[in-house]
Symmetry: C2
Subunit: 325 residues, 2 copies
């Protein structure tokens, strides 16, 4: 772990600038506590509730940070992104707020509610046949053809800096922490949060949490080689990313203290605790960090622990099946 | 509607005293807003989130207010209550906090999780066979035998005054309102909230909302005669009460502007909106007021509307079945 951010592609000052752009636009989401969950773990838990963020997930922060910079710079008339998840809606809303157009490349078999939600924010949706088309190539072609700026879901300095405002607010509102648990998919949220925590709470141990079935970042972290997974069948759909990125890999390696995994069964048990005890709706990816502490994967007894709950966009039918037994 | 509270068994000063007792003990629950739901209704909606209250429902307020008065007065060594719902857990927790014993009379076929939860707060649970025993009689006998104070679920001045702190906080935090929508079962929450709203926001129209299947209070209100229902099959289990009480009937009649009903199907649709858009867990009874405004039962366009979400104690299996289609 380096002592300095000097050689990294993003640093804490970028997070501070992102926070200024997001001020009054993104929600400053609440921190929730639960005496029951504290008693279960012997820790003092501070849950940062990004399920209450605009579009229902932290992704709005990075998207808005990136697009507001793009809009100010007059560098393009619009943004393009490929995503069937929260990044699509984040880019769509951020574009509307910054006066840009948004084009979202989505598989033609994406759930109709997701297509409708993305169009509902004013984005143009371009669908493709996932059997015959590579979405990255389609998006890159469209970007050139239409003069659009491609905004990747995590491996972009503005995205990483925007996501870092999650931990910045958590530390500002909860005070110094001993341990910070952050879900990890492509590593944008984890990298940004690590940048903020290193600066604001230097003694804080930062741990990224992945699903067992999609453990590429954990293997990369421990082996020192960039590892991949292909379409892991985890219910944590926000962490099915195949690998860390060109930016997030070095950031995670240099700033994070440890990476751990939790099982899908642990995610369901944790969603149950959070739903029944905290009365909030969270998606499976959102409880990766919470599962690590509630299941004892990470020992937190006696510690002040920040837990990022990253989003709350679940399909209610799907949600029902997890608990219908 | 009378201009004065002078002839009522509880008045706003009792609500203020209850607020002082609850200060630092009950949670001052947040008020949530939703731009989506505002756009749907044309109103400005302020949701008072009692699902985040201790024990997961507003019932803690009245129970603690009653038991702290009992404890201070040295009038009894313990409290007794009959309930298989939120009142049981509210009395159990309030007793523990005030140093009293709690005895809860529950049917022997009550869900084991509810029996366990009530015992978990330190209460003694006395079970009975609902085929052969009238719970009110059993509780009254035990109260005499063991020198316990019987705390009814809603028809008690201290309970009503405690529940009134919900609307008091809502009006203090949101400012004056044009309309206040409150779920109605036995009328304790509605009566207390009406007392607070009459004093703090005199122009505010106060509307109580019941399930169609359990419409006794609505019929009582409009007919001027106390009406009853027997075990209505509504999913709003907190509003299955057979009738308003000796105290709540005159309070509702004199303080409330209107009573309306909503269907169970409307409750499910509303729970879906609240769950998907606001990312919070609410029980069917909790969304009675929200359903009245979202379904257009009450016209709220252009108004500042307070909506009491009364609790979030749902069984997840049950919750799942409502959305599993």
């Amino acid at each position: 772990m380096s002592d300095s951010d000097g050689d990294l592609p993003v640093d804490y000052r970028d997070v501070v600038r992102a926070a200024m752009r997001l001020d009054g636009v993104a929600h400053r989401t609440p921190i929730m506590t639960s005496s029951t969950l504290d008693a279960m773990t012997g820790a003092q838990l501070f849950f940062k509730c990004e399920n209450f963020q605009r579009i229902g997930a932290f992704k709005f922060r990075g998207a808005y940070n990136a697009l507001s910079r793009l809009a100010c710079g007059g560098r393009a008339s619009g943004a393009i992104a490929y995503s069937s998840g929260n990044h699509a809606q984040a880019i769509a809303l951020a574009a509307r707020l910054t006066g840009l157009t948004a084009t979202i490349v989505m598989p033609e078999d994406a759930p109709s509610v997701k297509l409708a939600a993305t169009r509902g924010y004013g984005a143009e949706v371009v669908t493709y046949d996932p059997e015959t088309t590579v979405r990255e190539e389609l998006a890159a072609d469209l970007a050139v053809e239409r003069d659009l700026h491609l905004i990747p879901p995590f491996d972009h300095p503005d995205i990483i800096a925007g996501q870092g405002t999650v931990a910045r607010e958590l530390l500002q509102d909860a005070g110094p922490l001993d341990l910070l648990l952050v879900p990890c998919g492509g590593g944008g949220l984890l990298s940004g949060c690590a940048l903020a925590a290193r600066s604001l709470s230097p003694g804080c141990r930062i741990v990224g949490v992945e699903p067992e079935l999609g453990d590429d970042a954990t293997r990369s972290f421990h082996s020192g080689t960039l590892c991949t997974v292909q379409n892991p069948a985890t219910i944590a759909d926000g962490a099915r990313t195949s690998a860390l990125g060109k930016l997030t890999y070095p950031l995670v390696t240099s700033l994070v203290d440890d990476m751990v995994t939790v099982s899908d069964a642990a995610l369901v048990r944790t969603m149950r605790w959070v739903t029944e005890r905290m009365k909030i709706v969270v998606e499976p990816t959102a409880v990766l960090g919470a599962a690590a502490v509630l299941e004892g994967t990470v020992d937190a007894a006696g510690l002040r622990v920040g837990v990022v709950l990253s989003g709350g966009n679940v399909d209610l039918q799907q949600f029902a099946t997890w608990f219908d037994q």
